[in-house]
Amino acid sequence: MTSVRVTDLVVGYGGPPVVREATCSVGSGSLLAVVGASGSGKTTLLRAIAGFVPVTSGTISFDSELVTGPGVSVPPERRRVGIVTQDGSLFPHLSVERNIAFGLPRRELPDGTPTVQRVAELLDLVGLTGLGARAPHELSGGQQQRVALARALAPGPDVVLLDEPFSALDAGLRTSLGHEVRDLLRSTSTTAILVTHDQSEALSLADSVAVMVQGRIVQQGAPVDVYGHPTSLDAASFLGEVVLLPVLGREGDRVITALGALAAGDVGGGEQVVLRPEQVSVIAAAPGSDGRGSVVAVSYHGHDSLVDVRLDDGNLVRARVLGSSGMSTGDRVDVGLVG
């Protein structure tokens, strides 16, 4: 149970910085997802936390202990972090059991538990009972990741760092294993940082989401807040579809737009407001009415559809409707706000 705090971290591999003054934190026992496009510096951030890359400036502390800072650099083996990489990085020359036991004392743990017993417990924990004698290449991709997690958890680390651990798996497995891992980390009260480029993975698994853009953490908060109240267009558009509407006026803490008034975080100097398509409703124009705009595009995704509408005032908005929209390009529609 350890909290992690990263403050103004700068990392450059001798060139321009890859991580620029990144600041984020994760509370004890909770899961932080760092989400960002590839090349945004999120893996480097993770490697800095693990102690694998030297930092230019900034600090990293575990609880109150400074592990990286001016004149301080605790070597990786003394940080008590577990890491799980994209492909698991299992030791190909060792069996599953010996992979898991790699970070454990040879015979018994300090509390007297035999190492073999601990390994068996971990195998049960990750649902691989009985597969201990296998070689890593005899396992499926998902099983390999489970072993990697068991190996990382074995020494009872303070923090587990997960670097895109599910991205090499197929979609169905990715979701189920993701939830399984989250529950596992929660049941062991392990603090964890998950790096991913998949925003739905981040939003659905994490207690807290940090959005990383070009080396900076542009926003961190609870998934609902970060998604619903983005503080920048970068953060907003990375986490999902956005609708931008000009602000026409203000009424207390509500903003007035062409579609009506709403309470919303605004970005872009107060001149624009960011909405999500599910906040926009669209219905066919009532008979006799001409509506407020016409449909310019419809895309169907199965569980929902996105409808792009060109408003008569020239603004383009996007609405999400459940299932099929029943609309087609050119239809006249009425558009409003939900909630």
Binding site: G14, A50, E77, D87, S89, P92, H93, A135, S140, A154
Partner: protein
């Protein structure tokens, strides 16, 4: 890092001393440089190298294509046979040819023999690359409207060219440094002229000047080769296994021609040398073969080469590990420095160590220690190549994981990378051992008085035309050298297509890294 710097400094020592010596000689060095004979030597050497390179390409290209892309019968056996010429040291082949045709001499004879001994440097990487190519790229090219010939020209050749070019440069390096063959066929290329002026006079400045000139030529080749190697990443990340490129079906006539070609190459590169040696052995049955001398030479070869291999590994491991794991100008120049020895002809290292020992530690002059050191300088690059390939094949994340699990840097390296890479590193050491056993010029110059190896015995018998007495030594040398060539041929037949290209080091003699199924095989 520190260890690597020391290792490279030690390896560069002989060359640096040679330079100092030449610069110190002043005027006499200049006059030695501007003799007309020097120009003759340069031209002779360049023509010889070009002839060998062309010959090797002519021998290698059709062979590689037949063995990698067609359904030619007996492919497996021929793959092994086509690697075996590497096991015939070219001076042994030269001896074998001249034993049949005592009148053979001159530049064409030397070029033919060397090309026959070195073409596998080109054909082996070519086979590996041609077989390793993913069918996807060629299919993509076909679907984009290219005919089969255009696919070869625009896809296959450009993709295979770096491997072939690197192999050809190795051939060039080999032929520029080769001493025995050149001497046997009386071609006045650098090595022979240097050795002759070293033997002939006590003023060895001429030899030193020529040696420096030879080093310059060799270094130019090394630089060209390094450029060819490119900076391709040496381990695979996450990609699936490709499908092997399809084999062309040969017509009846194609099969006859193809088999005929392979048999011809086998005849010239293997049957003639081995047959000649066998014949000499049979004939010399009548005379007495000196078993005691043979045993002494075997012991001499093994002891000096083993010592050399140990020293070479000590020098190679720090450099190889560094080169596999780090890039950047610093590391690259360090690695380039370490590869100097790879371009240094044995005659140059021999000469410079003669100077160095006499001037600095006379006690070491013509001792086993000096000889072992010469072997290490000459052949450490082979061990560096093997170390680098083996280490690079281990994903660096494994070490990261081991460290996060509480192991210190050295312990983490030893239990992951070191543990997985050691067979490759050991193979590199074995390679140095076997190569050192074949070394001739440095051995001639540095061996303790009365110390004989297989190579020196063969040389002294051939020099006096005692072909029969030389035969047992020739046979022993081939038998020793056949081991790595045989292993490599076997490895090639087992190669799984798709996973190949990145394991083929530019120095084709270095042995594949890991046999443990590594990260690439994931679902």
């Amino acid at each position: 890092m520190g260890a690597a710097v020391v290792a490279v400094a030690v390896m560069a020592l002989p060359l640096v001393y040679l330079l100092v010596r030449v610069l110190g000689a002043g005027d006499s060095a200049w006059s030695a440089l501007w003799r007309t004979k020097t120009l003759d030597t340069v031209l002779t050497t360049i023509v010889l190298v070009l002839l060998v390179v062309i010959g090797a390409l002519i021998l290698a290209a059709p062979t590689a294509w037949l063995l990698s892309r067609t359904d030619i019968p007996l492919r497996g056996p021929f793959l092994v046979l086509m690697a075996l010429p590497l096991a015939v040291p070219s001076y042994v082949a030269a001896y074998a040819w001249i034993a049949i045709f005592p009148g053979m001499s001159g530049i064409f004879a030397a070029a033919l023999v060397m090309a026959l001994c070195t073409f596998p440097y080109v054909s082996i990487p070519l086979v590996a690359v041609l077989r390793g190519m993913d069918a996807g790229q060629e299919e993509a090219a076909r679907s984009l409207g290219l005919g089969p010939a255009a696919v070869v020209r625009r896809v296959v050749v450009p993709m295979a060219w770096p491997a072939a070019a690197a192999g050809l440069l190795l051939v060039a390096l080999y032929s520029i440094a080769e001493f025995g063959t050149v001497a046997i066929f009386r071609v006045d290329a650098f090595t022979r002229v240097i050795y002759a002026s070293y033997r002939a006079s006590f003023d060895r400045t001429t030899a030193a000047v020529l040696a420096i000139l030879l080093v310059v030529l060799a270094l130019a080749l090394v630089a060209a080769e390094a450029r060819m190697r490119g900076r391709a990443s040496r381990w695979r990340i996450g990609s699936g296994t490709g499908r092997p490129a399809p084999l062309s079906t040969l017509s009846r006539r194609g099969r006859v021609l193809g088999l005929g070609w392979l048999c011809l190459v086998t005849l010239l590169a293997l049957v003639v040398p081995l047959g000649s040696i066998g014949y000499q052995l049979l004939v010399s049955q009548r005379r007495e073969i000196d078993a005691g001398a043979l045993a002494g030479a075997v012991a001499g070869s093994i002891s000096s080469a083993t010592l050399g291999a140990v020293v070479a590994l000590l020098l190679a491991i720090p450099v190889g590990v560094l080169a596999a794991r780090y890039t950047g100008r610093w590391v690259r120049s360090l690695e380039a420095g370490a590869f100097l020895g790879h371009g240094l002809p044995g005659v140059v290292v021999g000469l410079s160590l003669v100077f160095l020992t006499l001037a600095v530690v006379p006690a070491a002059y013509q001792t086993l220690a000096a000889l072992a050191f010469a072997y290490a300088v000459l052949f450490a690059p082979k061990a560096i190549g093997a170390t680098r390939t083996s280490v690079a094949a281990v994903p660096p994340e494994l070490e990261s994981v081991a460290r996060s699990l509480g192991r210190g840097p050295i312990h983490a390296w030893w239990t992951t990378t070191g543990r997985i890479a050691w067979p490759g590193i050991a193979a590199g050491g074995l390679l140095v051992l076997l190569t050192a056993m074949k070394e001739l010029p440095a051995t001639l110059m540095l061996r303790p008085t009365g110390f004989e190896t297989l190579a020196t015995r063969l040389w002294s018998r051939t020099e006096v035309g005692a072909f029969g007495a030389a035969a047992p030594y020739a046979l022993a040398l081939i038998a020793l050298a056949a081991i790595p060539a045989w292993l490599m041929g076997r490895w090639l037949t087992r190669l799984s297509p798709g996973s190949v290209a990145e394991n083929v080091e530019w120095d084709s003699v270095s042995v594949p890294a890991v046999t443990t199924p590594a990260a690439g095989s994931k679902a």
